[in-house]
């Protein structure tokens, strides 16, 4: 019954006029950027973060969260209609969704995606609400040693999310941690890596880092490619499913939801991992795996449910443990700190309205998406016709104003441009920026917990292995690392063999 009380409180907050409005703004913006390729949720949230200063913290978080799961809806629209994923998490939807559209079943595919996402969103909302309390209680038992090990586990887990070299991803994490400690050391008051620049003693801004690495670098790389986007607009009619389609789709949606909810919880998880895993699962359990790639409705229902479920449950570690597990959550940490909320298990008790309001808003936002999204598809398609040469300067403008308004200084703007340069370098070297952002956000927390743990143990580093919870997390981290490294070893060996031939 306690759960119902909490949810009632949450819905009370989420249905306040102003919060409904910001949820709407959030999901609309999310859908918009989901539709538009070349700008993802990380860059968008970074862009809008500064503008949430004036808002109530709960309204701000509701809007920013809406952007993330709204993007999952929008991404599927372009995947199905144009065979062009607006978001990476919708990439697998192209495979069967677009085939369905070519067969004249675009309406059915869109409806499947929307209904599947809504179902998944509902389940995930309930899941966030039920898991939150026990996990927060567990987290309150954590000492600094446990927190430190948890962060190690979280960061290692995040390596899964970086495609490509594990070694590079770990290097990016460590570099991120270093960037995170730029600024005044809280214990000694010493300014570190500030180069005598007064603005740097407050540390680097999470908005600048994220916007530069994700937003600017992406725009520059889009400008480099000369290929033009082709628009093939499929006619959409009959936004509904036949009985037969429904019969095939719902078990897939159920499986996708379950898979996404679980994968969303894991460090490094979230929307992208969930949708890819779900597609693989559907192909495995299908009676006719040959249908896949030719317009199998399960190939839309599963991944589209999974990515939405994953997007939402990835809030759980952030809200209960204070540990972000992907780049979007790292920015949510930034958003919470801007509003003077220290993410962690205490948020639920110190700020129950915000906590439960945010959770309830996810369901409200999903409802808005399913109601508004399908009728608005025509508008989204029109927007896609805006040429990129007009679009990207506008994105730059919003970024520029957003980042300027953080402290009303142009220093932040130059800083963002500098990270844009770094972002292009990393992109050219195939170093994923997401682990860096996670490290950046966790840097100060990690140092603080390391210091406290070592102080309590009087400098004895074995404390991380003698406390059972901490040991379990380190073992899990080690196992994860072995798991990821194993296929890399195989690849390396393969290449070596090829050379011998």
């Amino acid at each position: 019954m306690e759960l119902l009380n909490h949810l009632a409180l949450g819905f009370g907050v989420a249905t306040q006029g102003i919060n409904l409005l910001y949820a709407l703004v959030g999901v609309m913006l999310g859908t918009l950027i989901g539709v538009l390729p070349g700008i993802g949720p990380v860059a968008t949230i970074a862009m809008l973060l500064p503008t949430t200063y004036a808002l109530q913290p709960v309204s701000a978080l509701i809007m920013l969260a809406g952007i993330y799961y709204g993007a999952q809806y929008g991404g599927s629209t372009t995947s199905i209609l144009l065979n062009m994923p607006g978001e990476t998490s919708s990439a697998v939807t192209c495979l069967d969704g677009h085939q369905m559209a070519r067969k004249g079943q675009a309406g059915a595919a869109l409806a499947t995606a929307a209904l599947g996402s809504f179902f998944a969103g509902t389940v995930a909302t309930v899941m966030v609400a039920t898991v939150a309390i026990p996990l927060s209680e567990l987290a309150l038992k954590f000492g600094p040693a446990e927190y430190f090990s948890l962060m190690i586990l979280g960061l290692i887990g995040a390596v899964v999310l970086a495609h490509g070299s594990v070694l590079k991803a770990i290097s990016m994490i460590v570099f991120g941690l270093l960037l995170g400690i730029v600024g005044t050391d809280v214990n000694s008051g010493a300014a570190r890596f500030a180069f005598g620049v007064p603005e740097l003693t407050d540390g680097l801004g999470v908005v600048s880092v994220a916007m530069g690495l994700f937003g600017f670098a992406e725009i520059i790389s889009n400008l480099e490619s000369t290929e033009k986007r082709e628009l093939v607009t499929a006619k959409v009619r009959g936004l509904w499913l036949t009985k037969e389609q429904f019969r095939k789709a719902w078990p897939a949606s159920l499986r996708g939801t379950a898979l996404g909810s679980i994968l969303g919880l894991l460090p490094g998880g979230g929307a992208m991992l969930s949708s890819f895993a779900s597609y693989a699962l559907e192909k495995k359990v299908a009676k006719n795996p040959d249908e896949f790639g030719k317009g199998a409705i399960q190939g839309v229902a599963g991944p589209e449910s999974a990515n939405n479920a994953g997007a939402q449950t990835s809030f759980i570690p952030l809200l209960t443990l204070g540990i972000p597990e992907n780049a979007v959550m790292a920015l949510m940490v930034g958003a919470m700190t801007i509003h003077n909320i220290q993410p962690g298990p205490q948020v639920m008790t110190s700020n129950p309205g915000l906590f439960w309001g945010l959770i309830a808003s996810m369901w409200v936002g999903n409802l808005m998406l399913v109601v508004l999204n399908l009728p608005m598809i025509g508008i989204w398609i029109k927007l896609l016709k805006v040429p990129y040469r007009l679009l990207y300067p506008a994105i730059l403008l919003f970024c520029g104003i957003g980042v300027y308004s953080i402290n009303n200084t142009n220093f932040d703007v130059s800083q963002t441009a500098a990270f844009g340069l770094l972002g292009v370098i990393f992109m050219k070297l195939e170093c994923e920026p997401a682990p860096l952002l996670l490290g950046f956000v966790l840097g100060p927390m990690m140092e603080e917990n390391l210091r406290r743990a070592m102080l309590l143990s009087r400098g004895d580093a074995t404390v991380f292995f003698t406390r059972p919870l901490s040991l379990v997390m380190l073992i899990l981290a080690a196992l994860l690392l072995l798991l990821i490294i194993a296929p890399a070893f195989r690849r390396t060996r393969q290449q070596a063999f090829q050379e011998e031939e």
Binding site: V174, D185, L223, P387, P393, G400, I401, N410, L455
Partner: protein, 150 residues
Amino acid sequence: MNRIRHPKDFVAGLLFIGFGIGAIAIGSNYALGTAARMGPGYFPRILGILLIVLGSVLALRALRLNGPQLPGWPWKPTVIVLASVAVFGVLLNYIGIVLSTIFLIVAASAASHEFRFRESLVSGILLSALAVGVFVVGLKLQLPIWPAGF
């Protein structure tokens, strides 16, 4: 250069080694403290050493693994995009949001292969009106609208 089979990894490795050395060098005058009472220099030192180790493994491995050549560098978009944004930040202080928006849109548009001056000017004027409406009127951000003195 034939010895380096995976140039991307090699350069990335060197970059990380550089960052690691930089962290240790710049952080060399921060007090280290002891393991029990860490000073401001302790954690950065650990990270710096880790970066050097990771970067070295990456760079050394690049001598044995094969990989793609280094790609070309997008000079034009990089310089135009980043410079126009940085200049925009400076201009905003002095000439206000309307004129600096028009500057940013026209300047940044020049990075595109399909740059059309008139079109970008129109776009800039429209967007400057939008920016005033959204940011100054709507979100009430403290931004100068016109150059100081107007």
